[in-house]
């Protein structure tokens, strides 16, 4: 069949499939891993979530751009997704907070995007064949399909190397508060995590992912949170070692998403890659102790292998995905250490798991009291 509607741009997959589309972001090409998310709102939060670093994100909700972009909804200092792929793009946003269009925003940050793509067909393809290497092409004029597919096959993918170093903060920074002191290990932090802690009064110090455990402990934290982030956790050996030492220090610890996977590796469990990941705002997670199901915001391509969790050492799977039974939470029988695979901060997504922050800060507050009492006894070693 002759091609009747030659599209200017295309999403080229490593397995040879080409999905035509029209460019609306920066007019450049980009390589990455093609994934999809089923969140119906929150495209700006998705674009600026560092966990999407190096990924070409297909938004399954077809109408994108409706409410524009604004300064408040950015989850980090810039958008990290390698590209966006949508069905219908709206260039005339309507919202009282909107300060511009999504297209202008993406162009400003050099990120390509395509609209008019059959995103449902693309999603079904990824579901069947898994997340894969891909190339987003803004203008395919003068280039053969074969040439493009060849490039897609050789495309860089965030699973290839340590990508946390690309997104972590370069400098330490603090948010003042009167509550417990929480050190956040930034592996690709979303602003809403810090905001969630700060809203509860915590004093927050954010440190780069490369910060050694000794330096973190020297900050005298009442609790440590290891943040979400991009890529395959097995490439983050130094961070795993940091977490191992923090666990040994037995202070309150909360691992979130990548942070959860780092904890798993630190305690000797293993991780694996999901075929097409969990990405969206509608994932049911069951708490195995209470039986309660919460709807969670998720964004991960890797997961902790349940049978590798060291049960003998007091670790157990605390929560599981109701969809596929994969591990969604870990906790220790006696230590104040736990982790969750999903995003309690939402942004985008439901806020049903905000109590995770409450519980963590309660533990941190108790720890502060206890350690305060302890230091008084031993003569004020703690500053």
């Amino acid at each position: 069949m002759p091609e009747l509607f030659a599209s200017r741009g295309a999403l080229v997959l490593e397995d040879g499939r080409i999905f035509g589309g029209e460019p609306f972001g920066a007019e450049v090409d980009a390589e990455g891993e093609a994934v999809f998310t089923t969140s119906m709102v929150g495209y700006q939060e998705i674009a600026t979530d560092p966990s999407f670093y190096g990924q070409i994100v297909c938004l399954t909700y077809p109408l994108i751009g409706n409410y524009g972009v604004n300064a408040d909804d950015d989850q980090s200092r810039r958008p990290w997704a390698a590209g966006l792929v949508v069905r219908e793009y709206c260039d005339e946003p309507s919202h009282w907070r909107a300060t511009g269009t999504l297209a202008a925003y993406l162009r400003k940050h050099g990120i390509p995007a395509l609209h008019s793509v059959d995103t449902r067909a693309l999603t079904r393809h990824i579901r069947r064949h898994g997340a894969m290497r891909a190339l987003i092409v803004s203008d395919r004029a003068g280039r053969s399909d074969e040439e493009l597919v060849e490039r897609a096959r050789r495309a860089w993918s965030p699973g290839d190397q340590d990508v946390v170093t690309m997104v972590t903060t370069t400098e330490r920074y603090a948010v003042e508060g009167t509550g417990p002191h929480v050190v956040v290990l930034d592996c690709g932090l979303k602003a809403e995590i810090v905001a969630s802690l700060a809203r509860r009064g915590a004093r927050v110090t954010v440190v780069p992912a490369s910060t050694p455990a000794a330096d973190i402990l020297a900050l005298a934290p009442d609790g440590v949170l290891t943040s979400p982030g991009p890529g395959d956790p097995v490439h983050n050996a130094p961070a795993v070692e940091t977490v191992r030492q923090l666990v040994a220090a037995e202070l309150p610890f909360l691992g979130v998403c990548l942070g959860h996977q780092l904890l798993a590796l630190a305690i000797g469990a293993r991780t694996g890659k999901l075929k097409f990941g969990h990405r969206g705002g509608n994932h049911p997670v069951k708490d195995l102790r209470t039986g309660v199901v919460r709807i969670t915001s998720q964004n991960h391509g890797y997961h902790v292998l349940a049978d590798s969790v060291p049960v003998d050492a007091g670790w157990r799977v605390s929560q599981v995905s109701l969809n596929d039974g994969t591990v969604e939470g870990l906790e220790h029988a006696s230590l104040p250490i736990s982790s969750i695979q999903y995003h309690p901060e939402g942004a985008p997504g439901p806020l049903d798991s905000q109590d995770i922050f409450d519980q963590f800060l309660d533990r941190a507050a108790r720890y502060r009291q206890q350690s305060g009492a302890l230091t008084t006894r031993v003569g004020g070693v703690r500053e």
Binding site: I18, G42, Y61, R120, R127, V149, G280
Partner: protein, 592 residues
């Protein structure tokens, strides 16, 4: 997880006669629920005064009483059948009101009948305005200034402290019968008097008008273990001031950011938890278009008209799941009957846009007042699904089967700009066409929004349709232009009329250009999981190209096979109606 004794027989109150505000959607919900009870091995006893329903068919309930829906009849049925439980949340307001009467008369206690789904206390707190207000205050939800009045004097007194316009809503009535918006003291007297007369408990609610605010609804569910989920949210195209039943509604919301969406979602979940509902619940909000301020407007502690829409819009069988929850099942143990591999405890992800347009009977009542407001006048509705708002809207307009065959229809009187402006400013059944006509005359979308209160997002979409109309009239009918028009939902006939060529020629050119409909599945999960459901919508979509290096796999295109679906057969198999499934079965398009 069943408290006290297990439920083995359940009395279901049907919805009675079809009236405005309580139409066939409750038959749909009731039928789905009765089938769900049968699946659970529960004996169902149905009382309904309306024999012209699916739910009263022989094979739906185990025992059917075609009797008047009165306290006395229900008492006698209870004595005779001695059901373990009463399920009143599926018959609309009638069923709920009767359940309250039965409980208050001591009949339920005397015969050991458990009220299932929604506790009596929750019904009272959701329906009684003062208790509802207190509930909202208790859980920290914002409450709009309002007062319950029982007389004209009380109404006038309230109007001295809160400025007009005031909204008048009578308590315990169907579809807002007897309500309205009072903009003058005279109107206030007239509407309050009518409202007091219409309300069975002689109460009307007066409240500050939120005219022009966005109206957003959430459908939520909860089970006995306190798992709460949102099925769907919906945004009314018509701003506050028009009854939801008379509004054009889109699902999901289109102009809400994640913050707005989650703020209202969280509030809806707090409300269903506070009410302790085990089953479905509908929460309506007013959202300021210029800030994050919102008010809770209304809560329906039952399966409602909006639940039927949400159910069809998402594929999630709300009534079926609500019935199962009512008899003690949990969301995380029930299967999602669409994917058949995930559980009912999840939130549907849509990958399409749904548009509902009310169907008013003004073609039969030529001299009726076509103004619409807080009292519902629509006698039906149409729903359309497509990948863009424009296409879903145009499909819905065509499905109305009114004199206004498409968006191109205009009233000759609109040649007068003042008349046109009035039809945009004052809510009426033809406002959608009036807005489009104004845009066709070059009025800006912003001006049309200013006049109507409709969010500019919607008026800009209408303007886009007008721009395509113009291109069709002025440009050569190239494959690209046909493609643009089809994606925006223009029918071949409309393209033909605009381009001035015979319909047959447009169709021929379209086919020659390889533009055919494809069928996409309403699968509740945006294609994340494989699904098995005979629920599809058509859309025009570009097919992906395959390279020589890719494996070639040809598929039959279902171009001639029209997946006609009747209202009754959607969603899922659980509520298929008379003869409708066969239409689908005979023609199974390939899922895409």
């Amino acid at each position: 997880m069943q408290a006290t004794k297990p439920i083995s027989s359940v009395l279901v109150i049907g919805s009675g006669p079809i009236v405005i505000g309580q139409a066939a959607e409750f038959d749909y919900a009731g039928t789905q629920a009765l089938r769900a009870l049968r699946e659970e091995g529960i004996r169902s006893i149905l009382v309904n005064s309306n024999p012209a329903t699916i739910m009263t068919d022989e094979d739906v309930a185990d025992v059917v009483y075609i009797e008047p829906l009165t306290l006395d009849v229900l008492r006698r049925v209870i004595i005779r059948e001695r059901p373990d439980g009463l399920l009143p949340t599926l018959g609309g307001q009638t069923g709920l009101n009767l359940a309250v009467e039965l409980a208050e008369a001591g009949i339920l206690d005397r015969y050991g009948v458990r009220l299932l789904g929604t506790p009596l206390d929750a019904i009272r707190r959701a329906e009684d305005r003062e208790l509802f207000k207190q509930l909202l205050i208790d859980i920290g939800e914002p409450v709009v200034e309002s007062a319950i009045v029982r007389s004209l004097t009380e109404a006038r007194e309230f109007a001295r402290t809160v400025p007009l316009p005031l909204i008048v809503r009578p308590a315990y009535t169907l579809g807002g019968t007897g309500g309205g918006i009072a903009t003058t003291p005279e109107e206030l007297d007239r509407i309050v008097a009518a409202g007091l007369a219409a309300s069975p408990i002689h109460q009307v609610l007066l409240e500050r008008s939120l005219l022009g605010w966005k109206e957003i609804e959430y459908e939520v569910m909860r089970d006995a273990s306190d798992t709460c989920i949102t099925i769907c949210n919906m945004e009314n195209l018509d701003p506050m001031g028009v009854h939801t039943g008379d509004s054009i509604v889109v699902a999901p919301s289109q102009t809400l950011t994640d913050r707005d969406y989650q703020m209202l979602r969280s509030a809806a979940l707090r409300i269903i938890r506070a009410l302790g509902i085990e089953g479905g619940c509908n929460v309506q909000f007013a959202l300021d278009p210029k800030s994050s301020q919102y008010y809770v407007i209304e809560v329906n502690p039952r399966v409602s008209r909006s639940s039927a829409l949400a159910s069809k819009a998402t594929g999630y069988p709300i009534a079926r799941v609500a019935a199962k929850i009512a008899v003690g099942r949990r969301l995380d143990e029930l299967m999602n009957s669409v994917t058949r591999q995930t559980k009912a405890a999840f939130e549907p992800a849509l990958d399409y846009c749904v548009v509902k347009i009310p169907r008013w009977p003004f073609d039969k009542f030529r001299h009726a007042d076509r103004t619409i407001g807080t009292q519902m006048k629509a006698t039906g509705e149409v729903m359309a699904i497509d990948r863009s708002f424009e296409a879903a809207l145009q499909k819905a307009v065509r499905s109305l089967e009114t004199d206004q065959k498409d968006l191109g229809w205009e009233d000759p009187a609109w040649g007068d700009a003042a008349v046109l402006e009035d039809h945009i400013r004052r809510p009426n059944d033809l406002r959608l066409w009036a807005m489009t006509a104004a845009l066709r005359r070059g009025w800006s979308p912003e001006r049309v929004s200013e006049l109507s209160g409709v969010d500019p997002w919607f008026t800009r979409k209408l303007a886009r349709l007008v721009a395509i109309e113009r291109r069709l009239a002025e440009e050569e009918l190239t494959p690209n232009l046909i493609w643009t028009a089809k994606r925006a939902g223009f029918a071949d006939a409309r393209i033909a009329a605009l381009a001035g060529v015979p319909v047959a020629e447009v169709t021929a050119r379209r086919r020659e250009a390889g533009i055919h409909p494809v069928y996409k599945m309403v699968d509740t999960c945006a294609a994340e999981f494989e699904a098995a459901t005979p629920y599809f919508y058509s859309t025009y979509s570009r097919r992906p190209r395959r390279t020589s290096t890719a494996r070639m796999r040809r598929r039959t295109r279902p171009s001639r096979c029209r997946a006609r679906r009747r209202w009754w057969s959607a969603p899922g198999r659980s509520a298929s109606g008379k003869g409708s499934s066969s239409t689908t079965a005979a023609c199974t398009p390939r899922p895409r």
